[in-house]
Symmetry: C2
Subunit: 332 residues, 2 copies
């Protein structure tokens, strides 16, 4: 009798477990998303993707979701975070470079003359990138970024840059992974810069971060191999580069793609051009009060052609103000 | 009382389960490996890597294992499989290219004059690669390779090329994954070529295959985006390129590395140069009867400097003849 009851209890507890687990997940996997078209579209797609035999089913191996970073997973306003890093680095390195007081764009930059820096265009930017992103080992660069990330303070949002991430998107990443999606970053940002925080911040490991990169070469230093960051761009993972980067690094077409600017247009087009269920989403910055409102005329994250394409094709467009009840996580 | 016994039984069964699972795995995860130094070194390292708090412990996220492909996971003798593919493609495409009857290296190749083809060196190879690996979409190339793989027959081993994989290495891949290692290919072979069979053959998904690549560009074709394979090499993942490829694609240093030739030397050096437990292994081809015996003077998979380095540093060297009781899996 004792044994029988024992068995019955065991069976009952085993049967209860999955039901309890489902019930636990059901309430709301996306609590920072208000009820509305965007949230419904996400949940409908993901639910269908997991129902074997259904029209919207996606085999687990094919559940690849790609996310732009700047403006999609974290803030890009008023300047891209990596640009803020580069400017801080120029200031930090200036004492070792007295020649910069005469050389552009460093002279204008150190004088706080943003307009003059901007006027020097691509060439000025390239010089700043070279000065701040090359001439050290990859391990040294990792440490420099890590130290900066630990304390760099956002000028507008009263928190560290690394904490200017979007709470609704963190929930979305977790929700997708809970449904066997593999989440990737595919961003115009520097891959080595993003890998420093992608795992701790987003739960995305280094090997699932695709980004722009500079030339790297193997050298021996005191009998040990090191990787040196050289001047020169190796790959620009933006615009038409995003499908190329996806092909090169991931090797299969995503089924879901998330972006916020014209630089993401080709990634979204490439994603939805595949057969079977596909999902494309744009974050539209409409919340001047809690974060920022900009699109077609912005100097960061310009959203113009991609917005037209989204309306035309019926992609999901997130209206930040309306669709998100929280923007940033509570301060740590 | 019933409740108490029930609890006792539950606890007992819970305690039994892991022991049963361990017992199941214990018999032999590597049955094609003979008992010896190589097998013992692998098992010792992997076992230690999974014992939390031990000296050899490796956190699951850091359990990255990288494998060369040609000569390490599958046969490269008498020619690299991708070279056999390229030669077959030239023959298949020849009727559409009457001009090849006058042009080198195609003329010699179609005449079966391997010596003349070889005499044309890198430039001849580049022309063959361009003719067979560019001018189509990535999807078209995938189909071409897939069709070839399905039937291409190895001239020596009486089985398809794709079945000339090493049974002991298949077991090793599975054993590592069972112990929470993430397995990657890092090979000089073409990444798009390898991705066609890596998942079905090795259980390694496309996003965990790192290899050499050609230039790819995004184009619109009848209103749909396609990726075109262009002439020109984008990245050579061999020799000093392997640590660069690991950094670029994986973004962290492996703890285990497996190779078979001088082209793997820098990958193994890079792997063991990291702190904490590290493991490097070379497959030494010593089995002329079952497969092939070659090292320092071979035209494929030359193993010279890396062999010296392995002996000097005490890396694990597999003696195929002695260490493997089976080379290839039973024919399908």
């Amino acid at each position: 009798m004792a044994r029988r009851m024992c068995l019955a209890a065991l069976v009952a507890s085993m049967m209860l477990q999955p039901r309890a687990a489902t019930a636990q997940r059901q309430p709301d996997a996306l609590p920072s998303w208000n009820d509305g078209a965007a949230k419904a579209a996400i949940i409908t797609f993901v639910t269908a993707a997991t129902i074997e035999g259904g029209n919207g089913y996606v085999a687990p191996g094919d559940r690849i979701a790609v996310f732009d970073n700047d403006g999609t997973l974290w803030c890009e306003y008023p300047v891209y975070t990596q640009a803020a890093f580069a400017l801080d680095r120029v200031r930090a390195l200036a004492p070792q470079h007295p020649e910069w007081r005469q050389e552009e764009p460093f002279r204008s930059l150190l004088a706080g003359d943003a307009r003059s820096v901007a006027a020097q265009g691509e060439q000025g930017i390239a010089r700043i990138v070279t000065a701040t992103h090359s001439g050290m080992t990859t391990a040294e660069f990792d440490s420099i970024v890590r130290d900066w990330m630990a304390q760099a303070w956002h000028p507008v949002f009263a928190r560290r840059y690394v904490d200017c991430v979007y709470q609704p998107m963190l929930e979305l990443l977790a929700y997708l992974r809970a449904n066997a999606f593999k989440t990737f970053i595919v961003s115009g940002g520097g891959v080595e810069f993003m890998r420093v925080f992608a795992e701790s911040t987003y739960g995305i490991p280094p090997e699932q971060v695709v980004g722009s990169s500079g030339v790297v070469s193997l050298e021996m230093r005191r009998g040990r191999p090191v990787l040196m960051k050289q001047p020169g761009v190796e790959f620009v993972d933006d615009g038409p580069g995003k499908p190329v980067g996806i092909h090169r690094f991931i090797g299969r077409r995503p089924v879901m793609a998330f972006g916020n600017s014209d630089g993401d247009l080709e990634m979204l087009q490439w994603t939805v051009a595949g057969e079977g269920p596909r999902f494309a989403l744009l974050v539209h910055r409409t919340d001047a009060e809690r974060e920022a409102a900009y699109d077609r005329n912005s100097h960061v994250g310009r959203l113009d052609k991609a917005l037209d394409e989204a309306w035309r094709r019926g992609w999901t467009v997130v209206d930040m103000k309306r669709d998100w009840n929280v923007v940033f996580p509570p301060p740590p």
